[in-house]
């Protein structure tokens, strides 16, 4: 393993997810389901899982990545 791509993927999804969820909470929303809040939350969870997996992989391998 050289460089764990789960770091940038996870971090980007956490940040975008937070932005989208915030738009869903505070911004104007069309009628119907609040897609911003819902999908923002999904992106946050996905980002968190990616970061967690990357962190676990780094801990289990003896030499640090990157």
């Amino acid at each position: 393993m050289t460089f764990d791509v789960r770091w940038p993927v996870g971090l980007l999804f956490l940040m975008i997810g937070a932005l989208v969820a915030a738009a869903g909470l505070f911004g104007p929303q069309p009628a119907g389901p609040n897609i911003d809040l819902g999908w923002g939350a999904v992106m946050i969870v996905f980002g968190a899982v990616m970061v967690l997996l990357a962190a676990l992989a780094r801990r289990s391998s003896s030499k640090p990545e990157l």
Binding site: I16, L19, A23, I35
Partner: protein, 601 residues
């Protein structure tokens, strides 16, 4: 819909991450192997996702949505008959020779197996094809950004003319792709492709969910559009009874066998991703992992087209108008436009009419307009970022394939054979810049012609279809000779050109669409002509290669170990769990694909 601050923020975050990945990948890019092959160090799942992304360019995301609106769910044949079986084949049967031969490119395999002239012929046609397709991808993106009007307001604020949006889109995307490939080479491209893959899914999955909700689910689509759009195999017995205009034989042979195998099994833009894998097993798993995800992509990229059509065709639905076939243009213009707009002639500003005088729909805007209409600020940023990501991944795939083929198969083979690794690394970086410049040039060239998309389909039938016969015979028939391969490949390409010159789809004009020698036969659709061009080209290459091989001197068999199936020891003892075994994985993927075909028959 206009972009809000959140949407700009998301777009900016994406660009920052893409460049950051380029910088991080650059730290590990010290040799030619690093730059051109990502150090052969990438885990299988990363290669697999990059494998999907590299193909997920403009033609795929926009084109599949457009075809979905035009032909219905039958578009899924491109996946369930075409791509998936071919991806399983390359993983199970061909990857041992690509990866095992230690070739650095697909043309280089041809040099090891056959000779220099076969490699050079393939390298030159391939290099040309990558430049043109990356240029067309760039052109399609710039055109789309201009048409969607998302940059109109910021450009107005800055006091810049609206015409500059097109140039701005081309220059910015070219610079970003140049930056991360120049720095990180194939590794930079692959890591970004993984990021782009997840973004594309994140941008399109909620669009499909929202859209299906709007049209009343799959059943709603079936009742609105009818069986012709929602059954993939209905009417495939004859070319005249289905929307594609091909019969099942042309479909299975032309698309399923020749074109798809030709693309997925020999196109270096695709194969390069698997060659970067960290082991033989990973290399073989790469296409299979990709296939197990890709077989569900019709739901992500084709369904939006069907949904957009349903929202255009059903007048009682909110935001929809009467279908274009209802007649007078003036009355349509007064209604709120449907999701799929009427195609406008850019030179006259009038709607484009078909042969019967009805206005034509601009299917290319099906997916993007659905996104603009149903995504609120926030998701809009994610959706547009997904579109941008798909354009960049498609372009980057072409550029990394181009720089490798140019450096190893043209420059090292013919211009400077004995230089240091640093020299070739430098040449590779230079080739990246030159490749992108040529792509920009071909993007502007594309804007001069309105039929450039047909041209690219054509080039693929010319280049990929015959070369698949060359690889197939090379890998599985030890008697194939270099002279046989070269003459066969040249003949196959020539026959493709001849077939194209002698046939024409109905209702088309002689020229870029065919018939430029004389019209001997006319096909019910462009797709049928394209499939049959491929079938003829492949068959000609196959027959001539066999014939010439039989009358020329065979290769020394000891030289062919690791390059030909019958002379290579079997790969046994795959370590790891049973589901990691390429053969079992391939079998599962095929079984699910058959099931999908049956469900949507």
């Amino acid at each position: 819909m206009h972009m809000g601050a959140v949407d700009w923020g998301i777009l900016a975050l994406y660009l920052a991450f893409v460049l950051a990945i380029g910088v991080l990948a650059a730290r590990r890019t010290k040799s030619g192997t690093d730059f051109f092959l990502a150090g052969r160090s990438i885990p299988a799942w990363v290669c697999g996702l990059a494998f999907i992304s590299a193909n997920l360019g403009a033609q795929e995301v926009i084109g599949m949505g457009a075809s979905g609106a035009k032909y219905g769910i039958a578009t899924a044949h491109f996946y369930w008959v075409g791509a998936i079986p071919a991806m399983v084949f390359v993983g199970v049967f061909m990857m041992p020779f690509y990866y095992g031969s230690k070739a650095r490119s697909a043309p280089e395999y041809l040099r090891m197996r056959f000779d220099e002239k076969t490699r050079t012929l393939n390298a030159l046609t391939f290099a040309l094809m990558t430049i043109i397709s990356s240029g067309v991808s760039m052109y399609a993106m710039a055109k789309l950004i201009q048409t969607l009007h998302v940059f109109d307001i910021p450009f107005e604020h800055l006091g810049l003319p609206q015409a500059w949006i097109f140039h701005f889109a081309i220059v910015v995307s070219a610079l970003v792709v140049l930056a991360y490939i120049y720095m990180g080479g194939l590794r930079g491209a692959i890591y970004n492709e993984v990021l782009q893959f997840f973004l594309i899914v994140a941008g399109f999955a909620p669009l499909v969910w929202l859209g299906l909700r709007q049209v009343g689910g799959w059943h709603g689509l079936q009742t609105t559009l009818g069986p012709a759009y929602t059954h993939a195999w209905a009417g495939m017995a004859h070319a005249s009874t289905n929307k594609l205009g091909v019969d099942w034989f042309g479909l299975v042979m032309g698309l399923g066998f020749v074109l798809s195998f030709g693309y997925w099994c020999t196109d270096f833009l695709i194969v390069q991703r698997a060659m970067a894998a960290d082991s033989m097993t990973s290399a073989r798993r790469t296409p299979l992992i990709a296939a197990s995800v890709k077989m569900f992509f019709p739901f992500l990229v084709i369904l939006p087209g069907l949904i957009a059509l349903a929202l255009t065709a059903a007048p009682d639905r909110p935001g929809a108008h009467a279908p274009a076939s209802s007649g007078a243009v003036a009355t349509i213009a007064q209604h709120e436009p449907g999701v799929i707009p009427i195609k406008m002639d850019s030179s006259t500003g009038k709607p484009m009419l078909d042969a019967k005088g009805h206005p034509q729909l601009d299917y290319d805007l099906a997916t993007p307009n659905l996104l603009l209409r149903y995504f609120p600020t926030g998701m809009l940023g994610v959706g547009l970022t997904a579109l941008l990501a798909s354009f960049m991944s498609g372009m980057a795939g072409n550029v990394t394939a181009f720089n490798t083929v140019w450096t190893y198969d043209i420059y090292q083979a013919h211009i400077r054979p004995e230089a240091s690794d640093e020299h070739y690394l430098m040449v590779g970086r230079l080739a990246t810049a030159i490749g992108i410049l040529l792509s920009v040039a071909s993007a502007y060239l594309a804007s001069q012609f309105n039929n450039i998309m047909d041209l690219i389909q054509l080039i693929m039938a010319f280049v990929n279809a015959p070369v698949f016969a060359t690889f197939l015979l090379g890998m599985f028939w030890k008697r194939t000779t270099g002279h046989g391969a070269f003459v066969g490949l040249a003949t196959g390409t020539l026959v493709a050109a001849l077939h194209h010159g002698l046939t024409l789809p109905v209702d088309s004009l002689v020229g870029a669409k065919g018939g430029w020698i004389m019209v001997m036969h006319s096909y019910p659709s462009e797709m049928a002509q394209n499939f049959w061009t491929a079938i003829w080209a492949w068959s000609a290459c196959f027959v001539v290669t066999v014939a010439v091989s039989l009358v020329t001197k065979p290769h020394d068999e000891t030289q062919l170990a690791g390059l030909v199936y019958s002379l290579t020891p079997k790969i046994g003892g795959d370590k790891g769990p049973w589901y990691g075994n390429p053969v079992i994985l391939g079998g599962i993927v095929l079984a699910v694909t058959v099931a999908l075909n049956l469900i949507f028959r």
